[in-house]
């Protein structure tokens, strides 16, 4: 059994103009793994959208080739590609007067006859797509009555109705709030595992991408693309390199970027509940206070999350919140 569903052979992509081609990404030999969720990460302007557009056949490659199921992308007609690959885009669709069902049924475009009439099989597939994104009860709702999160799920259902092995998503979580973002990522994971869909999504959401993707494609500022498991790419420093900026530091423990204070004004130590200690450290760091083994002050955490307060070793006073404690520390 083959493990890749789409691969590229020395692919270069970018923009062609009258003055000649400007290549953004060079000489890529990539493999999109079957039934896996792959996230494409990279800072703005590194060529994420260009790569997705080229792989989807919307934009011509400068050189090299894209192969889908071992067929050259260039040899396939628009309709043939549409049966293998579907898209979900960042741009919000502005159409008010369509029901959710009608919008999803547009995904059947490559299969239906000239008038777009749906047969019983089409209906089945559309309902299945709706059920897969858990939007079945919204079938007759109008698109403009949906929230951003629901709308994005409908667009994914439309891609599912197109019944393709591959789905590309261009920043699908861009307009969503945090709970919706997490839900969407889990939905995508579910689709890859349940229905063997191969999903490639570009995203700026480093946190979810590192936690939930099977595979990562990371483009760094020199337009070099690295692929691998998220953890491998973190450990090898590829993720840090892709986003590095002078004032930002990559936290190898949490897999996120942070800005370190210019200088620490104090050094303290902490004793007590582990969970509270994590958040206390966070607050201290933000306020330019470093946490070390033997600091000038020792903060004692009393109690647990349900009921806690802070004390300073060798000093009088109790502090019921982190905010009050910080106020005290800054005035010492």
């Amino acid at each position: 059994m083959k493990d890749s569903i789409l691969h590229t052979d020395r692919l270069s992509c970018g923009y062609k103009s009258k003055k000649g081609a400007s290549t953004i990404l060079n000489d890529l030999s990539l493999k999109l793994e079957k039934g896996k969720l792959t996230s494409l990460l990279g800072a703005n302007g590194t060529g994420k959208s260009t790569l997705i557009r080229t792989l989807a056949g919307v934009q011509p490659a400068i050189s090299g080739s894209v192969l889908m199921d071992d067929q050259l992308l260039g040899d396939l007609s628009g309709r043939e590609i549409a049966k293998k690959l579907s898209l979900v885009l960042t741009e919000r669709v502005h159409v008010g007067n369509l029901t959710v069902f009608a919008l999803i049924s547009l995904g059947r475009f490559p299969y239906t006859s000239w008038l777009g009439k749906l047969n019983s099989k089409d209906h089945e597939i559309i309902e299945h797509a709706l059920a897969s994104v858990k939007m079945l009860e919204f079938a007759n709702t109008h698109i403009d009555e949906l929230s951003d999160g629901e709308r994005q799920k409908v667009m994914i259902a439309r891609a599912l109705a197109q019944d393709t092995d591959i789905i590309f998503l261009d920043e699908p979580t861009a307009h969503l709030d945090l709970p919706n973002r997490v839900e969407l990522m889990h939905l995508l994971r579910e689709l890859t595992h349940k229905f063997e869909k191969s999903i490639l999504m570009s995203t700026h959401d480093l946190d979810s991408a590192l936690k939930l993707s099977d595979e990562l494609w990371v483009i760094d500022r020199d337009h070099q693309l690295s692929e691998g498991a998220p953890e491998d790419l973190i450990l090898s420093g590829k993720v840090e390199k892709a986003f590095e900026q002078d004032e930002l530091n990559f936290d190898y423990q949490f897999g996120s970027f942070e800005k370190l204070p210019a200088a620490y004004t104090k050094e303290v130590s902490i004793e007590g509940d582990q969970l509270i200690a994590i958040w206390l450290k966070n607050a201290l760091k933000r306020n330019g206070i470093k946490t070390i083994e033997n600091g000038s002050e020792t903060i004692l955490i009393k109690g647990d999350r349900a009921n806690y307060h802070f004390e300073l070793k060798g000093r009088d006073g109790e502090y019921s919140t982190i905010k009050r404690l910080l106020l005290k520390l800054n005035n010492l």
């Binding site: 502005h94 159409v95 008010g96 007067n97 547009l106 490559p110």
Partner: protein
């Protein structure tokens, strides 16, 4: 509210059809000679009327006018619907994007052609050949402007900018016609100005056949494009990702629209407003964006609105006939404003 609208849907098209038939008969009974309603029906059904003059008036003068109104309303509405979907802009329509202005340029080129005696009268005397000439000139003019707008639209993705460009191109076109008029003979200008007032009555029986062929072809072709137009609702990128050939879709849609708008403008003069308003009215009433429903409905709503305007233009009870172009705007615009204010969903339904 929602379930009410859904109940209304299956009856919408039959209801519109009945409305269209009733309005047609009413339109036929109007004019300087008063002909009773039941006589009109009798003549239409092929019966012999006691009054032979009535029969002649109905069949030779009023029927062509009524049929022209129906076709003009249908063609302009379909043109407007296609433009609104293609550009994904609620303000698009044949007159706004300069298609009508392009037609005017084409007709002006024929009518004001220097030196020759190519007035409307002489063209009418040319018979069918001349009709084709006007349709051709008008369509070419419309197509030229639309092609220009299409070329620019490849560079510009923003719909609002696109619309402004369309209005500017229309202005340039109108300016060219003005300059042309400035250097033309008064008689030629008079013919041209009469043409710009818009008239549904100037179409002869022979020309009617040509118009019917062109409009019939255009309307059927648009119906065949329903699926394509539906795909375009999601925007060009999605349409392309579903396997639609955007370049060809654009070319075909624009060709059909110029043919429809060009033919009507050529024969009836530049009739504004209908092309923009009817698609909105139809979407709002039927609460759908599905072109398989919208296209036949737009044909009916467009025809009804145009007949209504024609009835007003006849000024019932008098022998005066007002320019139909002015009536579509004066009667139509308040209707649209009223509906927007009442229903508040014109934007939502787009």
């Amino acid at each position: 509210m929602d379930s009410q609208r859904r109940l209304f849907k299956p009856f919408a098209i039959p209801l519109l059809l009945i409305g269209l038939i009733l309005l047609s008969i009413f339109d036929l009974s109007l004019g300087s000679v008063n002909i009773p309603f039941n006589e009109v029906v009798k003549i239409l059904l092929g019966g012999i009327s006691e009054n032979e003059a009535w029969q002649n008036i109905i069949l030779k003068i009023r029927l062509p006018r009524t049929l022209t109104a129906i076709m003009a309303g249908a063609a302009l509405s379909i043109g407007g619907l296609q433009m609104q979907t293609l550009f994904r802009n609620p303000l698009a329509g044949p007159s706004v994007l300069g298609i009508t202005a392009g037609s005017s340029l084409g007709v002006a080129a024929v009518m004001l052609a220097t030196g020759s005696a190519a007035t409307l009268l002489s063209i009418q005397q040319l018979g069918i050949g001349g009709s084709w000439l006007i349709i051709l000139a008008s369509t070419l003019g419309a197509g030229l402007v639309l092609f220009l707008i299409l070329l620019i639209s490849f560079k510009i993705r923003d719909n609002v900018v696109m619309l402004i460009v369309g209005i500017m191109v229309a202005n340039i076109t109108i300016a060219i016609v003005s300059i042309w008029q400035y250097f033309s003979e008064p008689e030629q200008i008079q013919e041209y100005i009469l043409w710009t007032f818009g008239s549904l009555g100037g179409v002869t029986n022979e020309q009617l056949g040509i118009l019917a062929v062109v409009v019939g072809f255009g309307v059927f072709a648009s119906f065949f494009l329903s699926k394509t137009l539906n795909a375009l609702l999601l925007g060009e990128s999605y349409a392309q990702s579903m396997g639609l050939n955007i370049k060809w879709a654009r070319i075909i849609i624009i060709t059909i629209t110029s043919l429809l708008a060009g033919a009507i403008t050529g024969f009836c003069g530049p009739i504004g407003f209908v092309g923009i308003a009817v698609p909105h009215l139809t979407r709002s009433f039927l609460n759908t964006s599905d072109h398989r429903v919208l296209i036949p409905s737009c044909v009916l709503v467009g025809a009804i609105l145009m007949l209504f305007c024609d009835i007003i233009a006849q000024v019932p009870g008098s022998s005066t006939v007002l320019p139909v172009n002015a009536i579509t705007a004066i009667i139509g615009s308040p209707i649209v404003i009223w509906i927007i204010v009442r229903r508040r969903n014109l934007k939502k339904s787009f």
